[in-house]
Subunit: 220 residues, 2 copies
């Protein structure tokens, strides 16, 4: 008996993280559970003590700390990151709580191949403390956004968004926690769409070639 098997090489990811790395963990989990056909080649951080690095090591993923103090110019720092990513054959870069402004030196080589997740419904509340901004403004809905990265902060073409309610008594932490649950669902599902080649960029609009709901149900 002949059984046909479809084999495709997994998408090779580089993850940039500065903090606790819960979105990194969501990607790792999705890969280990077979929901995401990707491989994390390395996790890069600008913080030596980022818990994201610990998480990566726990799963035998290469980690690199690149010390910003060793580089005078931001561009030089990004050149170092670029070289490291390229040395690991990274195809797509995921910013998962990477708290540092990027320069063209890193953005351009990964044009349409670098994504970011932001804890608001962009274009509302870009920048730092998005959840605090949302609470202060008094919106009744917020959420998260995954978008391609361009030269401007939190500005590139939007791939997917998910909404959560803002409740009357919400603190910044309450809202952040509620959004984070959705981030952990949304980010791996978007990466899977990229791995499947199902996204097309048309100006500022990102088209999804097959109609499916986020989070994706993947039939294997």
């Amino acid at each position: 008996m002949f059984e046909q098997e479809q084999t495709s090489s997994p998408l090779i990811l580089g993850v940039l993280a500065s903090g606790r790395g819960s979105n990194l963990q969501a990607i790792i989990d999705a890969i280990e559970e077979g929901r995401l056909e990707a491989k994390i080649a390395l996790v890069l951080s600008n913080k030596a003590d980022a818990f994201a690095l610990v998480r990566a090591k726990n799963h035998y993923i290469s980690t690199v700390f690149v010390d910003p103090k060793q580089y005078e110019r931001r561009e030089d720092y990004d050149d170092a990151l670029l070289k490291t990513l390229q040395a690991h054959q990274v195809q797509v870069v995921v910013l998962a709580g990477y708290m540092r402004l990027l320069t063209e030196h890193l953005v351009k080589p990964f044009h349409n191949r670098m994504i970011n997740i932001h804890p608001s419904l962009l274009p509302a509340f870009p920048g730092l403390h998005a959840q605090r901004q949302a609470i202060a403004y008094g919106v009744k809905l917020s959420g998260c956004t995954v978008h391609f990265v361009d030269e401007k902060m939190d500005n590139g073409p939007i791939i997917a968004q998910t909404t959560v309610p803002v409740l009357d008594g919400d603190t910044e932490e309450d809202l952040a926690g509620r959004i984070l649950v959705e981030e952990h669902r949304l980010l791996p599902s978007v990466i899977q769409r990229i791995a499947e080649g199902k996204l097309r960029i048309d100006g500022r609009r990102v088209l999804h070639l097959e109609k499916t709901r986020f989070p994706l149900e993947i039939n294997r």
Copy 2:
């Protein structure tokens, strides 16, 4: 047998409209179907041929066209509107597609008693052509917002928001139609909450005193 009956006088509304008045119709329908304990005292328009005026007349609601050409200054125009609204004992003013900037002369006397519905998830895409702005930006979610009116356009405290998806092939009209369905649900339900006295304004945040889902289920 003694049967206790709870009677409360309906909230008296003044509706300002410039266009076809589909949100006005949603309010009329909600009142006639017993979902909204309010009465529309009059519909005011700055356009003589606004279809909203026809809808009002069809339901025996007073209509007033106030001609902007008769007033040199915007403030004088708003003074005329204010007098008309006050003459009709209007308690709450609803802007339902009213396409004219308001001055303090009308906003201040109706502070916390004037609401507007806007076809986006504010603070994203304020101003004209909100749906076109959303399509051009490439967001994946949009919706509508009901908010109290303050001196700045589309800026006051948000009472409620509802979301709709933006689909790949959407034209401005497609999105506008999808949002409009939600506007027609949201606006009457918000007015009912006001009628029930269930909203409290705390700075920019509007608190809902009883947890219910929009649209409201009203038990009678």
